[in-house]
């Protein structure tokens, strides 16, 4: 009852107020540390965004397959000096989609809304699965999503010129297409490739 001050006073000192404040702040700090909320923390709202990106990437591929622009982009290849027409960085496009209709769709859908994407082609050669990058925005983040679609390339598919018109050179007649040699020489099929779109928020 009788305090050190000599009376039975119930009043706080500066030190006591300071200590009480510190306890409150410390508990807040503790709460911050255990929840660890950052903009990239997984939550239902970022799950929502991933779901949407995933569905959007599938939709872009489905649309590209429907109006043939996806195959056109795969055939937009310079066979005289092997490489994609107008590729700006080590044989890949790194500033946006290829200058084709499908590339523009990718730009409109993703790039203009601040979403980065990779466009990869997977093919099997000598029993091994290889990856060929067409669009390379760098390493995807942890929250990236991907969608794939299988596309058939035929012996009589013609490579496209820089302006997007057919060159008359068929896949069967060219030696240095990035997918490699004719997988099925006896049939009209040249190769089956898997096209993958990887998308993530920049």
């Amino acid at each position: 009852m009788v305090g050190p001050a000599g009376g039975d006073r119930g009043q706080a000192f500066t030190l006591e107020g300071f200590a009480a404040g510190l306890v409150l702040l410390a508990s807040l700090l503790f709460a911050l540390q255990v929840t660890a909320v950052t903009p990239l923390t997984a939550s239902t709202s970022s799950q929502h965004i991933e779901n949407q990106l995933d569905a959007t990437a599938s939709g872009v591929l489905a649309g590209g397959a429907e109006n043939e622009t996806l195959r056109e982009t795969l055939l937009y290849w310079n066979s005289s000096r092997p490489g994609h027409w107008g590729a700006d960085y080590q044989g890949t496009y790194s500033l946006g989609g290829p200058p084709t209709a499908f590339g523009e769709t990718l730009n409109r859908t993703f790039l203009e809304r601040g979403i980065a994407f990779d466009l990869n082609v997977y093919y099997v050669s000598n029993g091994r699965r290889h990856r060929h990058q067409i669009v390379d925005f760098g390493e995807p983040s942890d929250n990236a999503v991907s969608a794939t679609r299988t596309v058939a390339l035929y012996d009589d598919s013609e490579l496209l010129a820089a302006d997007g018109t057919p060159t008359g050179t068929t896949l069967a007649a060219t030696d240095d297409f990035y997918v490699g040699d004719d997988r099925s020489p006896d049939s009209g099929l040249y190769a089956l490739v898997q096209v993958e779109v990887v998308a993530w928020r920049m």
Partner: protein, 178 residues
């Protein structure tokens, strides 16, 4: 014991009261700073905690609803059978005009009653539209938009997007829920 203590306390208090002006180890400023600091800390904690909990209290229900509605439209109701995200142009036009004669399309004049179409209550509002990249509504035979106009105020509106193929191009299907 009680009697003795209270008698002693009473005596002590009387003595302390008499001595207080000399022996108090505290000034008004001392007290004001102490309590002020404490109140500041309390105020800071109270103002900070709601912001910390914000990511967990977003309107999750509408997020689910918008996502489900977008999936339902882009992969089933408006899509060609077996071809998700590739819209059947005829059915899409009928959906957005609210044409009661839906023919073989897998819905019943839904565009005129979106809440019912997505299995939501009447208090939930929807807007569905197919837009170009710059946000303008696609209008190739009929304007592809249905539902109400979203509020411009501070009310939270949840958006779900899909890329869909309509006629010969890829557009965006946007569903807004509030």
């Amino acid at each position: 014991m009680t009697g003795a203590r209270s008698a002693g306390d009473r005596r002590g208090r009387t003595a302390a009261d008499a001595r207080r002006p000399d022996e108090r180890g505290q000034t008004l400023i001392d007290y004001a700073i102490g309590v002020g600091l404490f109140l500041l800390a309390v105020a800071f904690v109270f103002s900070y905690v709601p912001g910390m909990l914000d990511p967990f209290t977003a309107e999750q229900e509408n997020v689910q609803l918008a996502d489900r509605a977008a999936t339902q439209l882009s992969e089933h109701h408006l899509a060609r059978p077996g071809e998700p995200f590739v819209l059947d142009a005829e059915c899409t036009d009928k959906f957005f005009t609210g044409d009661p004669d839906v023919g073989g399309c897998p819905f019943d004049d839904y565009g005129s009653d979106l809440s019912n179409a997505f299995g939501a209550d009447d208090a939930t509002h929807f807007e569905v539209s197919i837009v170009q990249a710059d946000g303008t509504v696609v209008d190739r035979t009929v304007p592809l938009t249905a539902g109400e106009t979203p509020p411009s105020g501070s009310q939270a509106v949840t958006t779900a997007r899909r890329a869909v193929h309509y006629r010969d191009r890829t557009y965006q299907l946007v569903v807004r829920v509030w």
